[in-house]
């Protein structure tokens, strides 16, 4: 019993020390000298060069000022017709003189990642326009239905910071009903695995970090997809918020953890992608987010 009491005293002392010295060990960025930062995950930093433990990208020295590049999207033919191929052309321009940008860094094995989400949240696409000789990115896509689409471009101009820019395309015709999302955490049977979701807290709170634990079954044969153990896109039901994340903790085992801060108290649809035995699995879950104190 004395041991138990001793431990309790030690805990009290530890808590007291914690209260007196609230700042934990200095983070790399608080030390003198160069800081190496992951361009994709800006919270991953080191005092020495290397690769990001989360996404594998090479860490870069220093910190370029975050500036927003211009992304022009042209869709032809005009007007866009459902069910017919449309050519999407993305041009990137610098923010200073609007000059075309021609040099890009590879991010997760690709120069350009594109996400397409329809107004009713029924259409989801993650693919990769290719760089043409005209230094624009091209992709041919068949819009399956009329209405609004939000298109998220994810790219990394040389010497800048990674860019995540949303564009809007409206396909003429009757607009689909807006999405009405109810909580859906049920396990999903994807291409060659089942994906389960739990979150901490059980109902995420807007503005606060939510831990999202995905369990895949079977986990045997799980592979990295585009240099990450998983990819996530979260879209609010009104399509204003579009969040692209990679796992916070994953090691090739059955559990993959993402940390997400949902900006607003409303429902989000979250798509996740995991690769197993060469097959990309896509599953989605609907997550109502509440405000603090609700």
């Amino acid at each position: 019993m004395r041991t138990v009491l001793g431990l309790l005293v030690l805990l009290v002392v530890a808590a007291a020390v914690s209260a007196q010295n609230p700042v934990i060990a200095p983070l790399p960025s608080q030390n003198a000298g160069s800081v190496y930062i992951c361009p994709m995950d800006p919270d991953v930093r080191s005092n020495s060069p290397g690769n990001c433990a989360r996404c594998g990208m090479a860490l870069v020295a220093g910190l370029p000022d975050p500036v927003e590049y211009h992304l022009h999207l042209d869709v032809s033919p005009k007007p866009i017709k459902t069910g017919q191929p449309a050519d999407l052309t993305f041009e990137v321009h610098d923010p200073w003189k609007d000059r075309p940008v021609t040099n890009f860094q590879i991010v997760h094995e690709k120069l350009f990642h594109m996400f397409v989400v329809s107004q009713d949240l029924q259409v989801f696409l993650h693919n990769h326009p290719t760089l043409g000789s005209d230094k624009s990115f091209h992709y041919q896509y068949v819009f399956p239905k009329s209405g609004m689409y939000r298109i998220l471009g994810d790219f990394y101009p040389d010497g800048a910071t990674p860019q995540l820019i949303t564009k809007t395309v409206i396909v003429p015709g009757p607009a689909p009903k807006p999405a009405s999302l109810m909580r859906d955490y049920s396990p999903k049977d994807a291409e060659n695995m089942t994906v389960e979701l739990t979150t901490d807290p059980p109902q995420p709170i807007s503005g606060f970090k939510s831990q999202m634990y995905f369990r895949v079954k079977p986990a045997e044969g799980l592979e990295k997809y585009l240099a990450a153990w998983g990819h996530m896109l979260a879209a609010s039901d009104d399509l204003i918020d579009m969040i692209h994340e990679h796992p916070f903790i994953a090691d090739g085992g059955p559990q993959i953890q993402f940390n997400v801060i949902f900006p607003r108290a409303r429902a989000y649809r979250v798509w996740v992608q995991f690769q197993r035995k060469g097959v990309v699995n896509t599953a989605y879950f609907d997550i109502p987010v509440k405000a603090l104190g609700q």
Binding site: M1, V4, L5, L8, V9, L11, V12, V13, A15, A16, S18, A19, Q20, P22, V23, I24, L27, P28, S29, Q30, V35, P42, D43, R45, L63, D65, P66, E68, H70, H72, K78, P79, I80, D98, M148, R150, T161, P162, Q163, L164, I165, T166, K167, T168, I170, V171, P172, S206, G207, F208, K209, D238, I240, M242, I243, I261, P263, R264
Partner: protein, 261 residues
Amino acid sequence: MYQCSSTISRKLTVLKNNLGRSSVKRQVHFACIVIIGMCALAEAHDIVTTPVTWDREISRIFYSRCVACHREGSRAFSLMQYQETFPWRTAIKEEVLERRMPPWGAVKGFGDFRNDQALTPEELELLTSWSQGGSPEGEEKDFPAKDKLNEMMKESAWFDAEAKASHSARQPGAIAVKGDFKLVKTFNLDGLLAKSVPPGSYQIIAELPDGRIEPLVWLDDYKEQFGHPFLYRAPLELPAGTVISGIPPGATIFLLPEEKK
């Protein structure tokens, strides 16, 4: 901090005395309460868990996005110094995530505006990380140089003053639109100005005679007092017969023409 230390010291003394004379069950119970109390004390401070600092990232965002209004002598409290900003860290996070600040009032990526003041996803992530991670000040050497600060403030001030002064409903050639409206001749649209918009979210579009649909602006929680125009990066050529739609009842949208050079 001294108060905190002496409180802890007193509690330890009490605990020590208690451990000597009470039953084991009561001792454990009391110790648990003290531990919880200590944890609460520890939470009263901000524990730094983020590498994002005021001196390096956050000051740059504030000086280029916020200080046109948030500075001494202006209409809102100052956010130019770390000491002024720190007490507002939680409110700042909430305001930016809800898109109430900066007061832009339109959804990003619906229309392409040269005076877009909405924060980028990267800026939102940095602000959230800083706010949640203890809001550290950082190191003075990382704070932007004075000429850089002036450059950022100039950019911020342009949004607040120059854009409003040079683009208004009284601009020659501006067209006031209520409800659905059909253009009778070609109009080179440089921007939009919104008046009397009721609370809510409204997608304003242009339906061109050839069937194309151009997103013009997605007003979201736009307020009259914002008063700024939405200026396109490149003028939109809207041919005769184009229908402007999506304007809510009671609101007026002014179509601002491209300035003749």
